[in-house]
Amino acid sequence: MNEIKKTYKNYVGGKYVRSESGKTFRIELKNEFYEVPLTSRKDIRDAVVAAKKGHTDWQKLSPYNKTQVLYRLSEMLEGNFETYQQLLQDAGLTKAKAKEDIHKAVDSIIWYAGMADKWEQMTGNLNPVAGDFFNISHQESLGVVFTLNSNTQSLNSLLLNMLPALTVGCSVISFNEENSVLALKLAEDINNSDLPGGALNIMSGKFELLIEDISNHVEITAMAIYKEIHNDEKTMIKENASKSLKRIFINPPTMGLEALFPFIETKTVWHPKGR
C-alpha cells in the first residue's frame, strides 16, 4: 500500500495557505503520493494582493539588505541539503546529479545575492546631454511578476526562474506544476530567509486552468514564461496582456545582466545646473 506522505500548502504573503477551493492534486514521486494545492482563480487574486504588499516591502529594503536576505536563503538551502537531495532522487535523479543540482542552486543564489547591490551600477548611467543639466537614468523594479517555472526536476532551474525578478526588487508569484513538491519544499526555506511576506509567493496548480485569469489580471505587471507552452497559449497570453499593456516574456535569459532586463523600468531625471 502506498501511503500519502504529506499535504503541502501554497506559500502566499508569508503564510502557508490551502487553496480556498479545498482542491488538491496528486504528484507521484517514486511511488509516493504528495497532495498539493490546485490553485484557484480566487487564490491567484489573493496572491496578487499579497504580492503588491510584498513588492512595496521588498523594494524599499536597501540593496545591501536585499543581498543579505538572498545570501541567507542560500544558507537555508545548504542546511536542508539532504532533504532536497532525497526529493530530487525520488524524482529520478541519480545521487550525483541531485547533489550537483543543489550545489548549482546554491551558487545561483550566491550570484544573485551579490548582484542585488550592483546591477544598478551596470544598467544606469549619467547621460551627457547638451546643455546645463544633470541628467541621470536609473532603474526600478516593474512590480508584481508572475513566473511560470520550467518545471524540470531541478532546484537550480526553479531558483533561476525566480531570482532575476526578485533581485531587482519585484515581487514574484512563482507558479509550479510537475515540480510543485520541490517548490513548496523550497517555500519553507524562503519563509526562514527574512524575505518580507509576499515578496516571493509559491503556488502549485495547473496553468492551463488559470491562464485566462492570470493574463487578464491588470495588477500583474509582467509574466515570464520559462516553460515550453503551446503557441495558442502564448497567443492568448499576449492578447489578454494587451488590455493593460502587461509585459510578456517568453523564455527570457536566466543568467547574466540580460536576465534582469525584463524586470526593470528606466527612470530618467533631469535637473538644471546653475548658481
Binding site: V129, N135, K238, L245, F261, K267, V269, W270, P272
Partner: protein, 479 residues
C-alpha cells in the same frame, strides 16, 4: 505712452518645393504605389492642400518588405563604422537643409516655425549624430551576451513631431544594423518624403530605408506582415494595445511609446515665476500635442490663488496664430479631427463643473485653432483630469501634503513623464523616487536630448528611445 503696433515677421515658404503628388520610397527610389490611391495633405493653418501622397496598401507593404530584405543583405555585411558614416552624412545634410525642413514641417503640421526651427530640426540632426557614433560600439554598450539586430523593423510615427519622431526611430534602428520600413502619420508625411530624398543623396544602399505613406490601414498592413521582426510605434495607447494584440501570435519585438497625462507638481517652496514659465512650456509647447505634456498642474493648496493669477497673466501673453510668423507661440491644431476631440473634452470639463479660463486672443478665420485653456476647480474624476486631451488645455488639481501630491500624480493608468517644482533638493529626490514615470523633469520641463532615454511606465508603453538604453529597443537579447 503709445504702445507699439505689432509687426509680424513671416518666414518665407519659398525655400520649399512641394510636388503635386508623391509615390512611395522603395528599393532606394520613389515609385508609384500599387494602390493608385492618394490622400491629400493640407496645411492645418490655412486648410490649403499642399500635396497628395500615396495611400499604401498591403501590396505596397509587401514590396517594401521585399526591398528591405535586399537592403538587409547589404546592410548586415557593412561594418559598424561604415554604417556610422552614412548616419553622420545624413546628420550633416539635415543640418545643411534644416531651414527647408523646418518650413515644410510648419506648413504640413501647423507648429510654430520658432519650434520647428529651434527645437525639432536641431534635435533631429543631433539624433543622427548621436546614434551614428554607436554603430561601431555596440559591443561596448551593454554587458550582455548575444545582442543582435532584429532585421526588418516596421516603424509607425505620429503627427506631433513628424521628422523628430522619424529620427528617434530611424537613427537607432539603422545604427544597430536593422533596416527600416517607415509609415509616417497620415496628416504629416512631407518631411519624411524629403528625408527619403536625403537617403538617395547620401547613397544609402537601396532597401535600407523604405517609406510607405498612407493611413491607419497602411499601418495595420505593416503590423500584420509576418516578415517584420520588430514594431516600434509612437502614438495613442489605444493603437498601442491594438498592436500588442495583433502581434500576439508572433515572436516579435515591440517598442510602444504611448499616451500620457503628466502631473506637473508645484510645491509651495518652488521659485514661483520659474515654475509658471515651466508650467506654460509644459502644456503649451507644440499646441499641447505632446505625449509627455504636463497636462495636470498639481498645485499645493496654499499657493493656488497666487499661482493661478500669475499663470493666467502669463497665458494672456501667448501669441496664437500663423505658425510661419516667427513670433508665434502657439500654432494650428494639427487636424480637424483633433480640434473636434479637444473641443468635446473641454466642453465636457465645463459641464462637469470645472472653472474654465481662456485667453483673449483672436483666432484666424481659416484653419484649426484652439485658445490656450486652463481649468481650475477640477476634480480628479473629471475626464479632463484623466484623459489625454493632446491640446493646449491644462487642468489644475490641488494637494496639501507631499504624500497627497504623489497619490494624485500616480493616480492614472499612464506613466510617461512628470514635473517637480521645489527649491529643496531632498524633496526633489524624495518625490522623483515615488513618481511612476519614465521621465521626470525637476525645475524644468519638456527637455529632450538624444542621449537621454525616453519612454513610459504602465500604460504609457514599454521600451526606451534615446541614450544607451534606446539601443536595447533595436537589439534582440538571445536567451
Amino acid at each position: 505712452m503709445n504702445k507699439w503696433e505689432y509687426a509680424e515677421s513671416i518666414e518665407s515658404s519659398s525655400i520649399v518645393n512641394i510636388e503635386k503628388k508623391y509615390g512611395i520610397f522603395i528599393d532606394g527610389k520613389f515609385q508609384n504605389a500599387n494602390s493608385k490611391k492618394f490622400i491629400k495633405t493640407i496645411s492645418p493653418s490655412t486648410e490649403e492642400v499642399l500635396s497628395s501622397v500615396s495611400l499604401g496598401n498591403e501590396i505596397d507593404i509587401n514590396s517594401a518588405v521585399e526591398s528591405a530584405k535586399e537592403g538587409l543583405k547589404i546592410w548586415s555585411k557593412l561594418s559598424g563604422t561604415e554604417r556610422a558614416k552614412y548616419l553622420f552624412k545624413l546628420a550633416r545634410l539635415i543640418q545643411e537643409r534644416s531651414r527647408e525642413f523646418a518650413v515644410l514641417e510648419t506648413l504640413d503640421g501647423g507648429k510654430p516655425i520658432k519650434e520647428s526651427r529651434d527645437f525639432d530640426l536641431p534635435q533631429v540632426a543631433a539624433n543622427f549624430f548621436y546614434f551614428a557614433g554607436w554603430a561601431d560600439k555596440l559591443d561596448l554598450s551593454w554587458n550582455a551576451k548575444g545582442l543582435k539586430p532584429y532585421g526588418i523593423v516596421g516603424q509607425i510615427i505620429p503627427w506631433n513631431f513628424p521628422l523628430l519622431m522619424l529620427s528617434w526611430k530611424v537613427a537607432p534602428a539603422l545604427a544597430t544594423g536593422n533596416v527600416v520600413i517607415l509609415k509616417p502619420a497620415e496628416s504629416t508625411p512631407l518631411t519624411a518624403i524629403l528625408f527619403a530624398e536625403l537617403c538617395q543623396e547620401v547613397g544609402l544602399p537601396p532597401g535600407v530605408f523604405n517609406l510607405v505613406t498612407g493611413d491607419g490601414s497602411t499601418g495595420a498592413a505593416l503590423v500584420k506582415h509576418p516578415d517584420i521582426s520588430k514594431i516600434a510605434f509612437t502614438g495613442s495607447t489605444g493603437v498601442g494595445k491594438y498592436i500588442q494584440k495583433e502581434t500576439a501570435d508572433r515572436d516579435i519585438g515591440l517598442t510602444l511609446e504611448l499616451g500620457g497625462k503628466a502631473a506637473n507638481i508645484v510645491f509651495n517652496d518652488a521659485a514661483i515665476d520659474q515654475a509658471v514659465e515651466g508650467v506654460v512650456n509644459g502644456i503649451f509647447f507644440n499646441q499641447g500635442h505632446v505625449c509627455c505634456a504636463g497636462s495636470r498642474l498639481v498645485l499645493q493648496e496654499d499657493i493656488h490663488d497666487e499661482f493661478v493669477t500669475k499663470l493666467e497673466k502669463r497665458m494672456q501673453s501667448l501669441r496664437v496664430g500663423n505658425p510661419l510668423d516667427k513670433n508665434t507661440d502657439i500654432g494650428a491644431i494639427n487636424s480637424k479631427d483633433q480640434l473636434d476631440k479637444i473641443t468635446s473634452l473641454v466642453n465636457e470639463g465645463v459641464e462637469e463643473g470645472g472653472t474654465i479660463f481662456q485667453t483673449d486672443c483672436e483666432l484666424p478665420q481659416n484653419g484649426f485653432w484652439f485658445k490656450p485653456t486652463l481649468f481650475t476647480n477640477a476634480q480628479p474624476s473629471y475626464r479632463i483630469s484623466r484623459e489625454e486631451i493632446f491640446g493646449p488645455v491644462l487642468t489644475t488639481l490641488t494637494f496639501r501634503t507631499p504624500e497627497e501630491a504623489i497619490e494624485i500624480s500616480n493616480n492614472t493608468e499612464y506613466g510617461l513623464s512628470a514635473g517637480i517644482w521645489t527649491e529643496k533638493g531632498s524633496k526633489i529626490l524624495w518625490t522623483a523616487d515615488r513618481l511612476q514615470a519614465g521621465v521626470i523633469w525637476a525645475n524644468t520641463f519638456n527637455k529632450f536630448d538624444p542621449s537621454s532615454p525616453f519612454g513610459g511606465y504602465k500604460e504609457s508603453g514599454f521600451g526606451r528611445e534615446g541614450g544607451r538604453h534606446g539601443l536595447l529597443s533595436y537589439l534582440k537579447v538571445q536567451s
